[in-house]
């Protein structure tokens, strides 16, 4: 018994050590291996599954066509997933395993800012490009990393689209009241508006922070009401957006635009407020209604259809799915442009990438984040979501100005 146990121990240790033996050198096989640790169990299961759906949609499509074309040769693609149990430390170990053991040519991002931040450091240290779609915190991109690229618009862009849209409307709104939850993401969104609105000659008449998760925001709305702003902005979450909209109705705060960063895009918002949800705007990474002219891959309509065929019964793809597919597309086009599977060359091709797909424009700034794709603005019109800005991708006109509460 003792001998056997100790032998097992010894064998385990030796196997770990010997397993480290890795063949070095170029992957000459015809299959391109992409690696992605995802939280397939644990607290991030829902979003991670959506991410995986987005990756798989592209994998199916590219392999049906024979693979990624590099110098006239078609390379099939395998995406290797590991479950990081929604744990960022585990994600980093698995990322290293994908690189060392599975010889992943390139990496796709995990879900969430924390795991993305940890994995970005691994990608950087191994000099393997990672294209990520689910970490919007700008801090990740302010580290001088050269191998991490994010296809989504950073947090500071979330409500800038609303200001851009407002600047095109008549009569042009001129005053903004900004309310914000005090968590980091919300503050990043709100602070950006504080800087951005004046550049469109709009004045911030109120900038008020409240406790993240607050359910009673009467005092904040009252402070806004006293200043009678043209635009009421909120940077927060679903519950706070609902609370603010209710308080605005009670106190008859009649702004021309009500726009909330997160919340209105979910069905729960309309369910909770029914008719009062109408006219409310929000910023979104992507909507199934946008109209971009894709240079390759599917059109938006075909994408939505492909999603519904592969994953029937769960409705339209949400933006998590779309941005994850977009990450694959950025990588594919970069490999094609580089005409090589060399990680450094593909990195350079990613840095130089400029292409429009169903998700929007894919182009990275010096830090590696996509500041070129605008956030789209959605408006709830007669109980349904419509994309209203930018006008070239919109499926409806903004209903402006929002009528006063007693005239609805």
């Amino acid at each position: 018994m003792r001998v056997r146990t100790s032998a097992l121990f010894a064998v385990t240790v030796l196997m770990v050590a010997c397993g480290g033996q890795a063949t070095t050198g170029e992957s000459t096989g015809s299959t391109i291996v992409l690696g992605a640790p995802l939280g397939l169990t644990g607290s991030l299961t829902k979003e991670s599954t959506l991410t995986q759906q987005g990756y798989n949609l592209w994998q199916d499509w590219i392999n049906q066509r024979g693979g990624v074309v590099v110098n006239g040769v078609k390379h099939k693609v395998t995406i290797k997933y590991y479950d990081d149990t929604s744990n960022a430390n585990q994600s980093a170990v698995l990322m290293q395993k994908l690189i060392t053991e599975d010889h992943a040519n390139f990496l796709l991002g995990p879900y969430g800012s924390a795991a993305t931040a940890t994995d970005a450091a691994i990608a950087e240290q191994n000099q393997i490009p990672m294209v990520e779609a689910n970490g919007a915190a700008q801090a990740i991109f302010n580290q001088g990393y050269k191998y991490t690229f994010g296809v989504l618009s950073p947090a500071n862009k979330y409500l800038e689209g609303v200001i851009d849209m407002a600047a095109t409307l008549t009569p042009k709104p001129s005053t903004v009241a900004m309310l914000s939850a005090d968590d980091n993401f919300s503050l990043e969104v709100a602070n950006a508006i504080n800087d951005y609105a004046p550049t469109k000659s709009m004045k911030i008449v109120l900038f008020k922070k409240y406790k993240n998760g607050a359910t009673n925001l009467t005092a904040e709305v009252q402070a806004a009401k006293a200043l009678n702003p043209d635009i009421l902005l909120n940077s927060g979450h679903l519950t706070e957006a609902i609370a603010i909209n209710k308080a605005a109705k009670e106190q008859k705060l009649n702004a021309k635009i009500f726009a909330y960063s997160v919340g209105p895009s979910t069905p729960d918002f309309i369910t909770a407020l029914s008719k009062d949800a109408n006219y409310v705007y929000d910023g979104s990474q992507w909507t199934p209604q946008v109209k971009y002219a894709p240079a390759f891959y599917l059109s938006v309509a075909d994408y939505v259809a492909a999603y519904k065929t592969k994953y029937p019964g769960i409705g339209d793809p949400d933006y998590h799915v779309a941005e994850s597919t977009a990450a694959c597309l950025a990588l594919q086009r970069a490999i094609e442009n580089a005409s090589s599977l060399d990680p450094k060359k593909v990195r350079d091709a990613l840095a130089a990438l400029d292409v429009t797909v169903f998700f929007g424009r894919l182009k990275f700034d010096q830090r590696g984040i996509n500041t070129y794709k605008p956030m789209v603005v959605e408006q709830i019109q007669n109980g349904a979501h419509h994309t209203v800005y930018p006008s070239d991708v919109a499926d409806a006109q903004p209903m402006y100005p929002t009528p006063a509460w007693d005239q609805r």
């Binding site: 018994m1 003792r2 001998v3 100790s6 121990f9 010894a10 385990t12 240790v13 030796l14 196997m15 770990v16 050590a17 010997c18 397993g19 480290g20 033996q21 890795a22 070095t24 397939l40 169990t41 590991y82 479950d83 149990t85 744990n87 960022a88 430390n89 585990q90 980093a92 170990v93 698995l94 290293q96 395993k97 690189i99 060392t100 053991e101 800012s113 924390a114 931040a117 940890t118 970005a120 450091a121 950087e124 240290q125 191994n126 915190a137 801090a139 990740i140 302010n142 580290q143 001088g144 005090d182 968590d183 980091n184 993401f185 503050l187 922070k209």
Partner: protein
């Protein structure tokens, strides 16, 4: 299971030789990844994945050994030691990221700050006993993590808040190797400190406290000072690894520097290996961390659990881990070191004697 003294001695020798070979291998194999070794056509015995896992193992050797000082030797079941890990990580992290200190200058402050914190909270906390102390220390562990994430000054998070803290990647040749050996040094330090404690008047005092605190006080042990000193020493070692971790991992936040599961794991490791011993917690750390990594699917050896789909594996792995630990606690209550090593405690004198016997 009854073995003759002779068989016992033979077994101990085998165990020592095997252990020595494994340790030597673990320490030397990474060197084969150096460019000089590669250009001399030395076969690659360890790669970056190996370093990462081995560094975690070394890290847990420190955590478990440090816990052993307060939990095993002094008998105070501290459930909040992860607070010291986090404090160490954030001390080094803040100095590097915000104050732009070089890593090697910032690292020594990690154990200092963690120890200072332990001394301050230890004074009131160590007046509690048994369950009360365990729960209170757990509370401290959780509270510190929450504080670090939520302290604001002038509207800005002081410690990086929910976003976390980014450190510049430490620019050094063979970074993976560097952190591996740094962590191994910390592990060696932790084991050496345990050895010193067990051989000192201080250690005997702690054991006296563990066995009977009133009696210890009666025979002249300054129990408060001894307990706080043990707690502080554990905190310093734990904080040191936290400091190394912050620069190694580059990114720190509440989740990765104050993980509640580390509290549990470090205690289980000490139990598994043998509390109150010198090498027990280290052996437990190696075994349990290997098992965790194995079940988590990070080791190069893969396995299939019958009737379990690939997706359910991590959950089943957790269950297996839990069952295994129950079995260990039931059947190997005094730890694997005791189990393998016979009745004698694993002492250096014993090590020396064995080495003399085995070497020609």
């Amino acid at each position: 299971m009854i073995a003759t003294p002779d068989a016992n001695a033979r077994w101990r020798r085998m165990f020592l030789i095997l252990g020595g070979i494994l340790v030597a291998y673990a320490l030397l194999a990474p060197l084969t990844s150096l460019e000089a070794a590669q250009s001399a056509n030395v076969p690659l015995l360890a790669d970056r994945l190996w370093f990462r896992i081995a560094t975690y193992i070394a890290m847990f050797i420190v955590l478990a050994s440090a816990w052993n000082i307060i939990g095993g030797i002094a008998g105070y079941a501290a459930f909040g030691n992860v607070a010291f890990f986090g404090i160490g990580a954030y001390t080094t992290g803040m100095l590097i990221a915000k104050a732009k200190w070089p890593f090697l200058a910032a690292l020594p402050l990690a154990p200092v700050v963690a120890a200072a914190f332990a001394a301050v909270v230890g004074l009131p906390l160590l007046r509690l006993r048994g369950h009360y102390f365990a729960v209170a220390s757990l509370g401290v562990g959780v509270a510190v993590g929450e504080l670090v994430q939520n302290i604001d000054y002038a509207g800005q998070p002081v410690f990086g808040g929910a976003t976390g803290l980014f450190l510049p990647i430490y620019s050094i040749e063979n970074r993976g190797l560097f952190f591996f050996y740094l962590m191994v040094l910390a592990a060696a330090l932790a084991v050496a400190v345990t050895w010193l404690v067990l051989r000192s008047r201080f250690g005997y005092g702690l054991i006296a406290i563990r066995e009977n605190e009133e009696a210890a006080a009666v025979i002249g042990v300054n129990t408060t000072a001894y307990k706080v000193a043990a707690f502080t020493l554990a905190a310093a070692l734990t904080g040191l690894t936290g400091g190394i971790f912050s620069q190694w991992n580059v990114f720190i936040n509440q989740d990765n520097t104050f993980p509640i599961e580390y509290n549990v794991q470090m205690i289980l490791m000490a139990l598994l290996g043998g509390t109150g011993t010198v090498f027990g917690p280290a052996a437990g750390a190696v075994l349990l961390q290997l098992l965790i990594q194995f079940l988590g699917g990070t080791l190069p050896i893969s396995f299939e659990i019958p009737f379990v789909s690939e997706n359910a594996r991590p959950i089943v792995a957790q269950v297996i881990l839990g069952v295994l630990l129950v079995v260990v606690v039931l059947f190997v209550p005094r730890g694997v070191i005791e189990f393998f090593g016979g009745r004698a405690r694993f002492s250096l004198a014993y090590l020396r004697r064995s080495l003399r016997e085995t070497s020609l």
